[in-house]
Amino acid sequence: MPDAQGALRNRVREFLGRELAAGGFAPRCDSWLIGFDPAFSARLGAAGLIGLMLPTEYGGQGLTIRDRLVVSEELLAAGAPVAAHWFAERQFAPALLRLGTAEQRAEWIPRITRGELFMAVGLSESDAGSDLAAVRTKATPVQGGWSVSGTKLWSSGAHHAHVIVVLARTSGERHEGLTQLIVRLPDPSVVIRPILAMNGEHHFNEVVFTDTFVPHADVLGEPGRGWKQAMEELATERAGPERYLSTFPLLHQVAQGLLPGCESQAHIGELIAAISTFRVINMRVVEHIEANRTDAIDIAMLKDMGTVFEQRTIDVALDMINDHHRSQPVPKSALSLLRDAQYQAPGFTVRGGTNEVLRGIVSKGLLL
């Protein structure tokens, strides 16, 4: 694709080059989930590389979502530790622009663009995973706002977050009567417990709310419209290169040093073809979002294909490592990237909507 964002791309690469030269970070796979580094986020924000598509009045640069896509893919491909600010920039800021009050935007968005605001997602619960409409966390009206009680699960980075956006039932049943509330953290009525991942790392949390007070001013959007709002947010959450580049730092590392004509060359060609093609789809999805048209079906298709691809790439990487062994030792850093990718892989096709749910969205669209 002709690269209209070439200058911006170079700016990100120069930033990353300086960071790597100064030992500012060690590349990791899945760095948007497991690469938590507030100092890096702050440096990225200071370099003007967070929230490019946000309005200048809130500290953004008034650029396009396409520009953000360029920055995102450069950061992910390099395995940069972007987890701290990732969710806030990716979905909280756009949600505030879509639904937020002037006060909410003014309060949160400048902190997001500086890379200083960390947001956690409060959607899943023990009985509401793929079946999100089954959420039981309740918000009841009280003087001046709402009182929230319930338990959210799998909230990535909640233990570091300044806010968690909670989907809670305020009335009705199923898709009706759900509301999104911004809960400020830490809060004495909110208990955050780690859910350790299978490698023992702490990224996920259980978040327990007991009569947590949320003022009216911290309601996101319209009470009762939470389902639709959350679905829009999920569509933008799903529409990024983090759905096909999670293992890229590993692929990059093991593809280096292989020789022409080696057994892996067709595998490498397949990787190149797949990623190049995903990028075409991703660009159209993003252009359409920019034109206020959300292609929920294309987004679901891209995420389904992209995450299955991510899982498959681990075997490809193993083949390449095998190929390496015949000529040279595999660098230690590659093995640690491989470890990360292997531990993270089962989550690729689950988080942000399982692939079965995604295919359900696609088939519903086809059968309309």
């Binding site: 593809a255 067709a266 073809a273 190049s276 075409v280 696609v362 086809l366």
Partner: protein, 340 residues
């Protein structure tokens, strides 16, 4: 406009409609109508004897022709043979030229005092019996070139590919070509072959889209266990997977149409190979036994897709091409290669 929407402009839709109208005429008049309208020369500049138009126009024409099972090298002429002839500077004939890459052991090229003489055997030449000449990619002392050989100077052994499209084994001995020229500097036979690969991908993508729509329709209408097939989750998931592979191949085609480099054509054919087989098998699975019947159109579409996957270089070969070019750089990095 996004590259993926290359076929959506009013002009392109109108072109597809015009061609479809000609194709829907009496069988005897179709070829004459297409030639009258200049369809075989779309994408070739008027200066070189073509009809003008760009690659996207040639692509929409090729897709429309394929959907109507045209048994003639109209797309090969416009998309591949005419393109190479124009590049080399050989006047593009006003009759149909097909193209041959699949040579046997070797096509022998000899230089005579004032001309060239060729002998050899070509395999799987598309619609050779329906062409007036064959553009043969040859190698002369390491220099890639193209020779235009009159079909009447050859012996044709007619067969057809799995999908039922006419393919010939062509033999010729000591034949003087109608035209001969070397490819422009820096251009290789694989660069030419990439264009045939792209043509086949366009045809595959078009057929897959039809298969997707046909399968969705069937799943909605066919009732088993007291409900439409589409109400069965596993079937609905299969429909989604067919749609995904269709989108993926369309995206790869769009990338190559936007910038038809050998690299991007290789990406398209690599992508098609990974997805099209799965999608056709899933479509048959949804259709149950129905897909196997010759009276139902799915089988013909499936087998044509499989043939197109074999032609113009297989997916694995183009994947190896990509990988090899990547590894041949002095210090290859995967990301800069992908975003070049």
């Amino acid at each position: 406009m996004n590259p993926l929407d290359w076929d959506q402009s009013p002009e392109r839709r109108a072109l597809a409609d015009v061609i479809a109208d000609i194709l829907n005429a009496d069988a005897g008049k179709v070829l004459h109508g297409l030639c009258e309208a200049g369809v075989p020369w779309i994408g070739i500049s008027e200066d070189a004897g073509g009809s003008g138009g760009d690659l996207g126009d040639a692509a929409i024409a090729a897709r429309t022709l394929a959907a109507h099972h045209l048994q003639s090298p109209v797309a090969e002429n416009s998309f591949v043979a005419g393109w190479i002839l124009e590049l080399v500077g050989i006047p593009v004939p006003r009759s149909l030229v097909t193209v041959a890459f699949e040579s046997g052991p070797a096509v022998r090229v000899e230089r005579t005092l004032d001309d060239w003489r060729l002998s050899g055997e070509l395999h799987l030449v598309p619609f050779a019996a329906q062409s007036s000449a064959i553009a043969v990619l040859v190698d002369f002392d390491g220099l890639p070139g193209i020779a235009l050989i009159a079909t009447s100077d050859t012996h044709l052994d007619e067969t057809c590919n799995l999908g039922g499209d006419a393919r010939c084994t062509v033999t010729f001995h000591d034949v003087a070509p109608q035209g001969f020229g070397f490819l422009p500097a820096g251009m290789s036979i694989p660069d030419c072959r990439a264009r045939l690969a792209l043509l086949r991908c366009i045809q595959i993508a078009g057929a897959l889209r039809s298969i997707r729509d046909m399968t969705v329709r069937y799943a909605r209408e066919r009732v088993q266990f007291g409900k439409p097939l589409s109400a069965i989750q596993s079937i609905a998931q299969s429909l989604a997977r067919i749609a995904e592979q269709t989108l993926l191949i369309e995206a790869a085609v769009a990338l190559a149409l936007e910038e038809p480099s050998t690299w991007n054509c290789a990406i398209a054919k690599t992508t098609a190979g990974q997805g099209a087989k799965d999608a056709t098998m899933l479509a048959h699975q949804v259709h149950g036994a129905m897909g196997i019947s010759s009276e139902y159109p799915l089988g013909a579409m499936t087998t044509r897709i499989w043939s197109w996957l074999e032609e113009g270089g297989r997916s694995k070969d183009w994947a190896a091409y990509l990988g090899n070019r990547f590894l041949s750089q002095s210090s290859p990095t995967l990301w800069t290669t992908i975003t070049h």
